[in-house]
């Protein structure tokens, strides 16, 4: 039994410690906003925050997450109030299919925490999530919009 803290809530889960955190979040805890895309930390669809840093949850084990604060897309808004990033995503109609956008929003949220006014080069260097619909143009505009909101 492992004790994980996800979105400020404690969960006791009966999983092997080497289980990827992604599958504990999705299958054991049942929170499905975090998506499976590749399983090899390439695409970023499963991005969550661990102690505030963006991490690809398919590449982290549940054991590694014990004792840390995990935030998923469901835990980003506090008391139902959307973050500036989420609001910019809505204002600029960013998502197409939307499947990668949980991870995209989590990656961008971590970037803005570190660099509140990122340049295009900052965005290029830190946002490496795959989006097959190709929302990048709107993603970039929404990052700048969120930064200046």
């Amino acid at each position: 039994m492992l004790r994980l803290t996800i979105n400020g809530k404690s969960h006791d889960v009966d999983v092997e410690s080497e289980t990827p955190l992604l599958w504990v979040i999705r299958d054991s805890i049942g929170m499905t906003g975090t998506k499976y895309g590749c399983g090899i930390a390439q695409c970023g669809a499963c991005t969550v925050h661990i102690d505030g840093a963006a991490v690809r949850s398919c590449g982290v084990t549940a054991g590694d997450a014990v004792g840390k604060n995990v935030t998923t897309i469901e835990g980003l808004a506090e008391n139902g109030i959307l973050t500036k990033v989420q609001q910019a995503w809505i204002d600029l109609d960013v998502p197409q299919c939307g499947y990668c956008q949980s991870g995209m929003i989590m990656a961008v949220s971590a970037l803005l925490k570190e660099k509140p006014k990122p340049t295009d080069a900052d965005i290029d260097n830190s946002i490496t999530n795959i989006c097959r619909c190709g929302t990048f143009q709107q993603v970039r505009a929404a990052i700048h919009a969120a930064a200046s909101a």
């Binding site: 299958d27 499905t32 499976y36 895309g37 695409c43 959307l82 939307g98 949980s102 946002i127 990048f136």
Partner: protein
Amino acid sequence: MNYMPLDRRSFLAGSATVGLSLGFHVPFVSPTSAEGAPEVNAWVVVKPDDTVIIRIARSEMGQGTLTGLAQMVAEELECDWSKVTTEYPTPGESVARKNPWGDFGTGGSRGIRTSQDYVRKGGAAARMMLVQAAANEWKVPASECTAANSVITHKASNRSTTYGKVAAAAAQIEPPKDVPLKDPKDWKLIGKSVKRLDTADKTVGKMMYGVDVKLPGMLNATIKACPVFGGKLKSFDAAKVESMKGVKKVVPVGDNAVAVIADTWWHAKSALDALPIVWDGGENAKVSSESIAKWLKEGLDSDQAFVGNKNGDAKAGLASAAKKVVAEYGYPYQNHACMEPLNATALYTPDRCEVWCGTQHGQAAFAAALEASGLPASKVEVYKYMLGGGFGRRGRSDYVTQAVLIAKQMPSTPIKLLWSREEDMQHGTYHPVTQCRLTAGLDDKGNLNTLHVRISGQSILTALRPEALVNGMDPATFQGLNASGEAAIGYSVPNLLIEHAMRNPHVPPGFWRGVNVNHNAIYLESFMDELAKETGVDPLEFRRRLMANHPKHLGVLNAVAERIGWGTPAPAGQFRGIAQFMGYGSYVAAAAEVSVNDNKVKVHRIVAATDPGYAVNPGQIERQISGSFVYGLSALFLGECTVKDGAIEQTNFDTYDSMRIAQMPKVECIVMPTGGFWGGVGEPTISVAPPAVLNAIFAATGKRYRSFPLKNHGLSLV
């Protein structure tokens, strides 16, 4: 599609029936909306609080069709847009009601263009019935009443009411036979860039995709099919993994696959990875990319070829040409690689089969569930979810068939089948592989007198829709090169011959966003550039001389040329390329600005234009354009599925890469609908970005690349 007849009474027995309502085509006792309100007709439900539920038959996979189709219905309905929501009718309901929503199939950029008339009529008929209901209540002629923003007004008596108040009465009115539609110049909602209806849930992790389905007692499964297409499952040693944690059952699936069912997906995946499996690849295990390329190359010279477009006498034209120019191109297999790997959840009992999934074709998924379950239509249902990408792949229902075949081996337990990314990469329905030889005959003044295009390679329709072949010919292979129609060539050439030598390797082909325009546009538009260079004429001018009889093709080409400043100097160190094409009823063009340094290609800017006839939601069209460029340019620079020992070699995004935000050019869109026709949006523009970029790379480097992806030539996209 073939459907088994459905006993309507048994369907209705399972539905709440509220009063008498009216189907748009066939009046009968109707079901209600998911939330229990009676419908006005098949397309429209109005709740007492004036919320309008618009039924959407086509599937949303990111392309915005849900919002666009709702705009079409709402335009004629004259309802309050801020109170519009949508719902999917189910395929089972469609069969039960004799198909009031028409085709559920969502592909070929057809969502709006092939349903625009009847969905608008659905909205208009509902409005007429709502107005009639109010008029009846007031005992005045309906013609004296007006409707706007979900409010019906009778000016003479100063009375008004809302749709929600009269909806129940409207549902009992005979549907109008004559349903006139607005003149496009009177549209208020169609043509407006209203926000998508499905965004909010996608920003908080609430949107439900097929992969997110949760059912009581549900188990998880994952599958491996024989890596060699057409190969068989010989044996597997279940005893080796049955004692692994969480494993419930190891089952064969059809004659070519094996699945592990477990409590969690990770347990299923771990066990499947450990499962000893013996495959029989058969003859196909000898096939490689090299053997396929050799076979296709022979097709470039073969005596037999289907003629798709012909005028004049190309052979004579080439024989008498002052100068001949020849070039050979090729385009590789591509995988769809939807972000959401394929999945479906099935629950089977001897008396009922239900499937929950994302699908581009609800009716095809339903047919697959019928066949796999062996149950009659009245005992089968499919529930559609948001698709995490489709791009053509989710028009196939192989994963639905598999899910049902697995569920049948554990009756009464819902089982979610989710493919690993590796399975998804290796069991696609791939963008077909082709080669092309283009031969031009120029006269002594450098005019293009003759053009012979010989395509050799794979036919999608032969594999997926053989009934659509015409005397063995696959007409779709000539997409964008036809004499007329929705995918017509934009040039007049006195002697023209366009042919296809069909060569169908064992790798299953599929409709991949853009389908055949992807390679056909690269072939034709790169070659046009080669001819311009050969004759010393500016590439834009060279094209214009051939386009006098193609004003709409020319219109979009001129638009991008003007916007990018063709003929004026490009920014320092940058070079321009241009291309135009037609597909899915729309005219599209692109002009690119590119720099190349040390084999690093930077695409700085692409100006794109599209004339889709009517533009329902220009904001969404712009997103489809820039999105399609990501898909098309990812393939051009990075994407290639190669074949070794009969199987696809690529396994994940590390070997089948996709563009990131750093590689994204600035895309400027010119949406220029000229009216009078309905063209598609999701796919046409994908065709022009690659040739525009290739032509710009040539302008920058003097090198003409004719095989892809460009990474194979040492070029990287930065």
